[in-house]
Structures are given as structure tokens and as C-alpha cells.
């Protein structure tokens, strides 16, 4: 499975957990996301959307960080089922 279930982070709903598989970016922007804790294997929780739906607040490695859709669209991975999480 894994790869066939791959979706962008931007599609994950509030309250759901997501595990990063790949960051489809290069150069300084990729570096920036890695520095902020968006690294392959990291688990991200979708905290809340802003009133207009963008940007969205994420919880990653114990810190809250907001990303715009441009960025979250390029972070791909898979949903973590809530049963598995609990």
C-alpha cells in the first residue's frame, strides 16, 4: 500500500494525522521546510484552518507551524488511521 495511498498534506482534514513521505521541492524552499521539521517520516497533525481556509496550522515535532497551500500541496505522504494512532 503506502505509495498508492500517497496524498498531499493540503488534502488532510482538521484533526487528522499524516506521515510525511516526500517533499516534492528543491532548493531553498525544501531546505526551509526541512528546517521547520517537515522531514520524511515526521508525523503532522492538522490543527486548524484559518477563516479563509489558507494558511493551515500544523503541529510537527512539538511546534505549531502554518503553511500556505502552495507548500502543503508539495508535501506528500499518507494518512495515519486514528485506530492505529490510539
Amino acid at each position: 500500500m503506502g505509495l498508492s495511498n500517497s496524498i498531499p498534506l493540503s488534502q488532510v482534514k482538521t484533526g487528522e494525522m499524516f506521515q510525511i513521505n516526500k517533499i516534492q521541492l528543491e532548493g531553498p524552499l525544501k531546505r526551509r521546510l526541512l528546517d521547520l521539521g517537515f522531514i520524511p517520516g515526521a508525523v503532522v497533525e492538522v490543527l486548524q484552518k484559518s477563516p479563509l481556509g489558507d494558511p493551515v496550522a500544523y503541529r510537527v515535532s512539538n511546534t505549531t507551524i502554518a503553511l500556505r497551500k502552495e507548500e502543503s500541496l508539495l508535501i506528500t505522504g499518507s494518512l495515519i488511521r486514528s485506530e492505529a494512532h490510539e
Binding site: 531546505r31 526551509r32 515535532s61
Partner: protein, 239 residues
Amino acid sequence: MSNFRIALAGNPNTGKSTLFNLLTGLRQHTGNWPGKTVIHAEGALDYKEKHYTLIDLPGTYSLYSNSADEEVARDHIIFERPDVTIVVLDATALERNMNLALQVLEMTSQVIVCINLIDEAKKKGIEINERKLARKLGVPVVKISARNKTGINELLETLDQMADGKIATNPIQVTYSNDIEEKIAQLEPLVQRAVGDAFPARWVALRLLDGDKSFLNALKKRQNGVQKEVAVHGYSACH
């Protein structure tokens, strides 16, 4: 009284500035870094017959994303070469904070890792074995709470000893993939020939491999600046 320059580095919201304020009190002045809209805070501290100038670097997650904040912090550590760099980490988010700590350890061996917010970590049930961490990182690790003023004496004592050169450090080196390590080995002697011992050759080689134009520009500017200064001195000496 001998004077030492100490840089404080750390992620945002690690209580770095709380520590800075605690150590320097009202003996500080702020302004901007030259040519940048980034706050520059500098303060003074006296401890055991030594005078320290503390520089509060901007809070950053990294030194390589090339924002103005990160460039200021990187340039200060690499060009100004502080006598000691204190890396302040958030005890409740060590994994995230380790990124910056490892980056600083690649640049200089005169580092004290200072784990702040230890009181909050305790509340969350996080235990930190600082001896084990110190052994692994190869530099001293001190646990503090800047807000509750705990561990500060130990930090100052460690600072005093490092300033005296009494602490031998052996900072952990990140090992990269074989491909990269091979290229580093090829570049290191060339870098050494080009820039001498002024900069850590391995670190500069890594920046070259990274294609870090921001650093190369800063280096060029720096070297031109130094040459210009020499030229001006030569001119005034003629008068």
C-alpha cells in the same frame, strides 16, 4: 580584566532572550545589524575576574535557509568567531532544536549546549540525561531554567572554564553519504589553501557542495572589505 565575546544562538521561543536579559540585566544596548533590519542586542557580564560581551543572535531554526535572520547568525559565528557560542535548546522539543545545535557544532568547537525550560519539561514528564548527551555531542551540556534562575551558576562556571581553555571539546561530526564524504575529502585541502585556517575547511566544503551562494557572497564581500581596509591604511600611512 580579559574580555571574551559570547554568542547566544537558538531556535525562536527557547527563552534565549530571557537568559540574555538575566545574564546582562540593564547592561545592554540594542540596535540593528549593519545593513539589515534585524535586531542586534549586545550586553555585558562580569564573572570571576572576566569581562564578557554577550551577543543575542536572532532566533532561528537553521543557519542555511538564507533569511536575513539566519544570515546574521551564520555570519556572526563564522566571521566574528565568538570565544564561546552558547546554543540554547528548548527541553520540551529537543529533536527539533538539535538541527541548529548540530549546525553550530559543525562550525566551531567552542560550544556550550544549554538546555532551557527544564522546569516545563519536568512537568511534561521529560527527563534529560545531560551527561549522556554531553558525551554524545562532545561538548558541555548544562540544564537551566532561565525563568526560575536555576542552573545559572553551573552555566557561568562552565563558561568560565571554557574561556580559560580548560575544557577540551570534541564536537560530533555529522557523517554524510559516501558520495558526499568523498567530495568533501577532495575539496577540503583546496579550501584550506584558498581561505587558510580562518574558517573550518570541512564546513566551507559542505557549503560549496550545497551551492550556498549566500555564504559565498558573504565571504567574497568580507575578503574585499579586508583588502580595502588594508589599502586605506597604506594610503593614510603615506601622509
